[in-house]
Symmetry: C2
């Protein structure tokens, strides 16, 4: 049984295609979401359906897979059963836990209300609404200070998601909306990217961090490194030196693992990830595997597998093959992570790519980034649609999904 249909869970199920097993794949959503492009939904470039696909459709050709839409609430490790909300428990022989991660507010969960993170489709449409409503409310506002606050967007965390969000919001303000308002000038919007460490994109090399910093600054975003957020509230954020009044705050900082460690009664690291052995199984439970963002794994070469999509896919594939090998009486070497590289886009004609020793920036990096993401999307239809929309938006400077669709509570009928 596989819990979670993210990159790791889907790959594990696929790797069991020819194994003599019945695979049950459980997720609380009906769709697999291509998280690397979630920020494009949050910034009105793509529609949710362009980067998501029904799980059961992805696996419909694989007869030994049953997909269930259900919420897991625990695991009975002793009796080998997965406990569901509102349904009977399900027994397993092998269990693969691939439940991903959530945002961490460093012990301040009350900030989540004011500074939403970006993990699911609903998060993306919520953030999209907040960004677009910022401009709409500023147009309706007569008080100048409040108008400026509504036009201030703070992104907390200078990793890939933070950089991509800051660049995209800067483009919305400077290009997309430039001619659409009469009382405000959207180009006067203030976009601030906050990073607690000394440089943005800390997992890439310093020259790429520098490039990203310069590119964002040129696009009109403010980047503040070595700046820590000490509080979030409805009106903005407090910093270790000062305060920023803001209408929209987006959280792209810490990550913590899903509650899998608690379900399993297993040892977890500081980020809540389950510590697994060299074959990604839970120590003392060779029938339970933990993969992806939920696992704290050191591979055969002594490298820690990072919390990114390629690592999750490799772990999923490894575990699927290992289970099949076991059932066929074969053995497999320990897990070995292959690091291809990392990349982040900043805006039109601008991205950073670190692929082994090759570093790309600017237009070439941006082309590489775009082609790589289209290649990894699921489904030919979505590849065509996304490629067309990107081309169209590039030529027209537009974003086609500028919808405020969640009805605010006071308007609900």
């Amino acid at each position: 049984m596989v819990i979670g249909a993210g990159f790791g869970g889907i790959e594990a199920a696929k790797a069991l295609r020819r194994a003599p097993v019945d695979v049950t794949l459980i997720d609380r959503q009906n769709h697999h979401c291509f998280q690397p492009l979630l920020y494009q939904v949050a910034t009105a470039a793509l529609s949710p359906a362009d980067i998501a696909w029904p799980i059961r459709h992805i696996l419909r050709g694989q007869d030994n897979v049953t997909v269930l839409l259900a919420e897991v609430v625990g695991v009975d490790v002793a009796r080998r059963r997965v406990l569901l909300s509102g349904a009977e428990p399900i027994a397993y022989d092998h269990l693969v836990v691939a439940t991903g991660s959530m945002h961490s507010y460093f012990g301040h969960d009350e900030w989540a209300e004011f500074a939403p993170g970006l993990k699911r489709i609903v998060d993306a449409t919520r953030i999209r609404r907040s960004i677009l409503l910022g401009f709409e409310r500023a147009e309706m506002q007569h008080d100048k200070a409040e108008q400026q606050r509504l036009l201030t967007f703070v992104i907390v965390g200078g990793g890939a998601t933070g950089v991509e969000m800051a660049g995209a919001i800067a483009e919305i303000a400077r290009l997309t909306l430039a001619k659409d308002f009469r009382r405000i000038d959207p180009r006067s919007a203030r976009i601030v990217l906050l990073e607690a460490g000394p440089r943005i994109l800390p997992t890439l090399s310093p020259d790429l961090s520098d490039y990203a910093l310069r590119a964002l600054t040129r696009m009109g975003a403010e980047v503040r490194t070595s700046t820590r957020v000490t509080a979030c509230d409805r009106g903005g954020v407090d910093l270790d030196g000062g305060r920023i009044d803001a209408g929209t705050v987006i959280w792209a900082a810490g990550v913590q693992a899903s509650p899998a460690a608690r379900w399993l009664g297993a040892k977890a690291d500081r980020a809540g990830r389950v510590v697994v052995g060299p074959d990604l199984s839970l120590p003392g439970h060779p029938e339970i595997f933990v993969i992806g963002d939920t696992a704290s794994a050191i591979d055969a070469a002594g490298h820690r597998a990072p919390g990114i999509a390629p690592a999750a896919k490799q772990m999923g594939r490894y575990v699927g093959k290992l289970i099949r090998a076991r059932l066929e009486g074969r053995s497999r070497p320990p897990f070995r992570y292959w690091h291809a590289g990392e990349l982040a886009t900043i805006g039109r004609r601008s991205a950073v790519v670190q692929f082994h020793r090759i570093h790309l920036t600017g237009f070439v990096g941006w082309l590489f980034w775009g082609l790589a993401h289209i290649y990894f999307l699921i489904g030919t239809r979505n590849r065509f649609v996304v490629a067309f929309i990107w081309l169209w938006d590039f030529v027209t400077f537009q974003r086609g999904a500028r919808l405020i669709t969640d009805v605010p509570p006071q308007q609900k009928s």
Copy 2:
């Protein structure tokens, strides 16, 4: 000032392009929705952004228009001011009310909870969720009777929307989902279209009603005419003869006008529409016009303008030109409605079209329907995307927007 950015309101604003006026266009949504294709969002074929466009983007090239996202709560006719929720009133010289219509449950508003109607984007995503969850829950269900109930879909109302919904759900069950489930057979789903009158599509000619009835039956939908719903509840619907247990009930029956008549203190007909004069103005108030679904208008030839998009557009254009003429000291003849025809799609290769004396059905009707709708969509980008998606879905028998995105209340974090 124009209230409402549907087909009528947008046309009125556009017709005032060269008039010496400042136009304020108010809507409580940020987007104009192409309602004729809303059922395709509800049935997972298109994404919301494919049929909606930001209002301020549509009119960004027209310098004399200011678009405001705000909710109108009333009109102070004596002082010529529009009252907003949470903002200062706005004064007007001329007022165009184009606030559309809502669903009517014939005095049983409590049915709305169990049988949602289809008017806005949020309605469409709600219905999409309900349809897709029906199949998902049936897959999780062990009780056979409950499983069959979850797989029963009732559509109330045999007009164009009801026929289109019934045909689309039949296709989802028979074609799209055919291979995606393991425990249930989606093809066993029951789709029932209920119509209180003696035939479906009552505004078209009887031969086209007959064709639609046969086409729906061939696709596996049940059509019951002369059947009235007497109650809706969580488990299904009561009829004047019998009961249908159903997991999803969709309301496509009565329509009532928005509360504009109450705002204006004006005379309304039985459906709540404001009775207007031959120039679409409110009797006694030449400065106030009511158009589209909100108006009860008899044109110069004695014909009643129906509640469809072309009528709303013609009224909007007429009023815009009339206001301009008045300001320039010219007069205009009374409003005259030109009826082009009506059309409805039923499924793959099947539609009915009544265009003056020309009646089209089958593949030719379906092609005409598709081309007409792409032509009337707003924006070249959406035309391309929708055309591509239709072509793709036609070839693959798929629907690309099968997302359950609204988190059910019990799962909300």
